[in-house]
Symmetry: D2
């Protein structure tokens, strides 16, 4: 069998929560449905009826994890949910979120999008005092910090816990009578507040509000801790100010095009990336073809800016599962072909500009270009709507290690040669910033520049799974 | 729970076969993978090792029905496979194909795409003599006709059987030592011949050849019975000549855009439909937005012909399962929203042309238009890349009954009012023929015109499931 | 893994039916529960609500095959059920009963205990005319005979069908409005009539009546066809008279001790077998130990007749599944030990008489004796409460072939030596007849004597599965 | 559906461990198979290959929880396993054992048979300091005590942990390189040491050694902590001496008759109980009938002492699952009948002595007596091979509460009247002690006398599940 994971980046998670709605669990399920692109490995919902927490989690897609009876057992008018992705062997139900525990003050559930860079150090410290951990995920340390806090209110316990962690987090907490959202001071990951009739919602992306026809109110602010209870909203800003550095890769690849994050619509930003790319790397050609689906908006932008016609020259098979069974004596890898096919009638005899959002290992690009040449293309010009990816992410995106990133070791010319394109053009970092200017001028661009917003974090970073597994 | 079947037409099946390859079953599995769009209800493969038939079938998608161990138990160098769709309650494993039986001459398996209009009459005749049927599908009568034939060779038995049936069929048969393909004299459904090294392949659509890098040789001709055995190909044309009337709806909606059927590439035909539509129904607007994914090629054609920019203003959620769980007190139907979302940033303040391939009941179009208006559109102009659908199909497409087809009862103006568009334009039948002219001038267009190629069939048509269930 | 089938005989089936009770399916489920010992491979129930048949079948035990929802979908006030055993590879859901088909006159379901010796010949005849068979079980020919009968009423069609088959059968038929029971003229297999309030019941053994507190009315007579409909009972005797030869092995091993079959209580007969055995093969010893559970009644009888104390010296593990996982390098076969263990405290230093009902291959007896010797027995005397098993059964019991029956090839002395007992004694055929005299003097004892009641059947017997698979 | 739990007591668990055998996991699986009677709710095995722990647990019987692939993934030459029973709603996989956690010193697994009476108090204490618990079982506190111990070696950490707990425990621990067995100072639950070639085994009962043909070496002593590593055995007695009070109910009901516990064979003790019962409560009768299977040994003893013939007058259905589906309008409870049936032929017209091991709520006895009367018994005399059960158990047996114990509230005469026997006789406490005298004179008999070995435990006992859920 062949895993159909392509060599893209993968965000770790999506979160959704609702407080004060009679169908909290069902709406959370719908919210997770629309955040499914942020994680396909596991899904879970924890609800509260004011007295007790109810939990259902499972491995797989939201549509597979939850049956009607599961939803109906998630009683109560508040709920939080989580979808998770992981490319490692640590794919296990014990790592599925929301994470739920009992401690002296009752039950608490937590759903986390991000990555804590000092989790290993804190965990070692707690274990030294005899604490016992259930999972291999960094999120668990937050629960231990909360349980051992000397503060009285849940909000204060959470704040005291978060003061000790470093890294990226968009968090949702649920206990019996309140829901609390928190976003790290740098604001690495998106998190938004919504409203549906009398209830409050929090979601990783606004597309979750659209589905259930809720209103997008505002983003949770960097460094904000927002407590939602029967009295309403209570906002705290307990952390020292920090530079706002949202993840620019959310715009390039992760977020859904219909979402608004960091103040801008994702599709519009991607189209701008395509426009900039056309300006920076023009080439004479017959058609502009996106790698579906992630390359589509940039290809539309490139086509509009260049005047070269947009064409859907590559078809995507939407019924592809996570794995498929390869022929035994196969010398070809079907991994890309099972998902994508070039349309000969469109391609044959043409000079083709292929638009993709990024190149990771280069193997997928190489296969796509071979496929397009086999369909009769006269020339193939690869255009990438982001700068070369040269560094891994420590803030919640599951990138390959530096050794596997082709751009970390090879020049653009060498990559062009490896993937067999006629020409290859990457968007510049400057072009990137121009394209995202509506969303402000400050981002985490460490994957392209190696400039980590809090670069001292790096020295203490211990690869999470090597230690915890 | 809500079924996520939209109100489109559904083709019943896709077939794939291979003869003379050591990994016959695995390649058939891959072939079915690429024909998955033709049927998602059940999947099956029957293989032969020259002495015995091996079968594995199941309900669900190809990726779910087959595990590695299942494939490895399908021994031998020949195999046929089938994917099936059904919108009725008769969704049961006993109706999954290929249909396999033992009769006096050994085992035989059959995979069928199409519909036999005189199956009920023939079945009643056989039952009167004491024959026993296992399933409620029309295909089973073919096996009874073969089993009771007085001819000696399998090919002759099949020919004598097919001489008695009327309707549409693209068929694959497999017994211990040969594979036989047959296509009805009218050629309603597509069926093509391919070659991979020394082995022969037959598939509903050429996209199945592309995936496994096989060569497309030619179409199986209308009325052809093609026997494939160790000696090679043997072609027969045993039926009286009939008018060639391939199904034009394969071009409009069913077939995959990267396939070549009836002599033309599907995507190219669809783009032409969009161009014609732009000529017939121009309108002043800001953007052309397809209903994904079926409206995309026509929208590209419409945009190119009109000069109005193409925009992906509607996003499709690719993780949607077959059902999802609705909130209990929901007054809205989430069926469309769970799958589609409009991008406000693109739509707001714009005059929008929405392109879809057809309108069946009208309820989906109404919801899509509402969604686009909610996203801030100034005007919404609906354009349909086919004529009004006024009659049901008796040749293998599972259409709603005439009562449910909105265009069968309402004028274009009434439909425009129902779906709440500002203007509505359908492609004319003449425009349709102009767009498909590369594929020849003769088609079955009964769903648009009510002119059934063999209209005497209608009187004897007995709705299949009412009788057989 | 090791199959935990011991080397005993296995009856093929148990049947149960009820007509005229609002909880027909549930009571049939309970009836099958109490007949589970007659077949553990598959279970099924078909019910009728007067208009339609409802079916649920599955592989495994009754308790596993049926969930509450399955029972609730089996509508109506009449139902028949079946449990089946098979030791061959043809263990497949398509062979599960009741067998249900649609034919010209509607639906019909059949449940069969027994074996038809001319089924292969009849099947070949039907296949020659083009009939198609679904399964590899002999029962299916009955349905074809019924479907092709020229008679009008279902009873007459069944009678005309049964006139053509030879062999053993206790049958239950169900169509929309009646239930029909039939027993072959020799009466090989048991079948009894019961009554529960206003409803009629038919079951393989009376223990099924006891469970649901129904009244045992009488046995279905050999050669009787009993029609049960709204008007009540209608009994027919349409077949030529034949010698009554019920299967004596039902008494020795198959039937449950609390059942009454062929006019006698099974436990009482078994105790008598033990008494006779004590008279025929006395030996000086300290304790009488049964092989649980089948040897218990005969051991009680042996102990009572001999005055030697009965002891439960072997314990049975009741939680044994159908298979278990052996250590890889195991040189011992755990097959018996996983199920049975000797109690050293009871055995040590004793002269032990071990009572079992029969010896098939001898391997189990050998292991049991080794186990008893390891527990410290001074002497081990094996006593078997039936004569040596020398011939296979053609009337519904799945015996090993003649080559595998140790007594078919070896003398009692040789068997004694093989199984390592100090002495070995089998009950004589005369002793057997004396013990069962309450049940009448006529039996099928072919497995002990080779005298088949209808010995001409043998020549035409074609091993069923070799042909049909 | 009806739960087929009878109203008996249920022991919580069985444990098995092996150190130093290449097929450790497979032998542990077999060991659990033979301890299945001690717990049917969940099963689990944890193995070690010297570097890492491997775990597989599941709900259900051993035969269902483990497939061959599961066993093969449990690498290494040491393993511990556990079977668990629970009658409460807290039947959840998170409570399945062995319990495995990671803490600062690596991994540790624990399997526990018994009950800790001060677990709730200790847990509250730990939670107050911020510790987080995963399960609702008392065993988890031991892991927290170990993790927070200041000692260096695992053995010392375990000893320091066990010094803080009170109650009953037979424990097995496994870490990467050693297995440690521990039994509480009172020796409430059995635990034995065995040897198989070069490997050491520990099991709740000796029947586990018999199955795999291992040698029974000795019992783990009360208060002993036995460390098994590559160097061999290291025995510690770190606790203050305490009165040896093994659970007498293990002899009466729980343990398997072929096991040797507390120095005596269980079957032999039960036969002695029956003999004493015959002396204390003689009655003129025709037959002695056990309630299968637990009443069999005592019935054999009663029959031998009284001279009244032993008869298997009640048959047990061995195919009974854990639940079955009752008819909806059933006014009778099938719970007993589905499992037991009286043989009329044996019972009718007889004066019957029925032997059972205990009476809990009385409802089962009442149904059994009704069944025997319906089978035609002239008289029914109930004899119980233990004293009246008047108090609940706090040391590991899941008894009903005092309110549900019929003997806690009613006199023997009243019980006789309730269960409708002609006469009723319980064994006296003196008779009980005489029967078990081979096993020594000191027992925990609190369920019969209310004299708890450490009666101060009672005041601090907090019903476990109410607090922890």
């Amino acid at each position: 069998m062949t895993e159909l994971t392509d060599d893209r980046f993968h965000d770790e998670c999506g979160v959704f929560g609702i407080f004060g709605h009679p169908e909290a669990a069902n709406l959370t399920y719908l919210g997770l449905y629309s955040l499914q692109h942020r994680g396909q490995e596991s899904a879970g919902i924890v609800s509260s009826d004011g007295e007790k927490l109810y939990s259902h989690k499972g491995m797989g897609l939201v549509a597979d994890v939850f049956r009607e009876a599961d939803i109906s057992r998630l009683h109560g008018s508040s709920a939080i949910g989580h979808v998770r992705y992981s490319t490692t062997g640590e794919s296990h139900i014990k790592n599925a979120q929301p994470f739920v525990v009992e401690y002296a003050r009752g039950g608490i559930a937590v759903a986390h999008n991000g990555n804590l860079v000092n989790a290993a150090r804190l965990r070692a410290e707690y274990e030294a005092y005899g604490s016992i951990f259930q999972s291999s995920i960094d999120t668990e340390i937050i629960v231990h910090l909360i349980a051992s806090s000397k503060e009285n209110s849940l909000a204060d316990r959470i704040i005291s816990a978060l003061k000790r962690v470093k890294g990226s987090y968009s968090l949702l907490f649920l206990n019996e009578d309140r829901m609390i959202a928190a976003r790290d001071p740098h604001g690495f990951r998106p998190l938004s507040l919504g409203r549906l009739k009398g209830s409050w919602l929090v979601a990783s992306e606004t597309c979750a509000f659209d589905l259930i026809e809720a209103e997008f109110v505002r983003e949770i602010e960097p460094g904000e801790v927002l407590v939602i209870d029967k009295e309403g909203l209570h906002s705290y800003k307990p952390f020292p100010a920090a530079r706002y550095t949202p993840c620019v890769f959310e715009f390039i690849y992760f977020a859904r095009p219909d979402s608004t994050i960091f103040g801008a619509n994702v599709h519009t930003v991607r189209k701008n990336l395509g426009r900039r790319l056309a300006e920076e790397h023009p080439v004479e050609a017959d058609i502009v073809v996106p790698v579906p689906d992630s390359g589509v908006p940039a290809a539309i932008g490139y086509a509009a800016a260049s005047g070269i016609p947009f064409e859907k020259g590559i078809v995507r098979n939407h019924y592809v599962g996570r794995t498929f069974i390869e022929p035994k004596d196969s010398i070809r890898h079907f991994g890309v072909k099972i998902k994508l096919n070039a349309i000969r009638d469109i391609i044959v005899g043409k000079k083709v500009i292929v638009i993709d959002d990024s190149i990771v290992r280069g193997t997928t690009s190489r296969k796509i270009i071979k496929m397009i040449r086999n369909a009769g293309a006269k020339e193939v010009h690869m255009r990438i709507s982001s700068p070369p990816t040269v560094c891994p992410c420590y803030y919640g995106i599951d990138t390959p290690s530096r050794e596997e990133l082709i751009a970390a070791k090879q020049s653009v010319e060498e990559i062009n040669s490896y993937i067999t394109s006629d020409t290859l053009g990457y968007l510049s970092v400057e072009g990137l910033y121009k394209a995202v200017k509506d969303a402000g001028g400050s981002f985490c661009d460490a994957c392209f520049t190696g400039k980590y917003p809090v670069d001292t974090y790096r020295e203490e970073y211990v690869p999470q799974l090597a230690l915890f597994k």
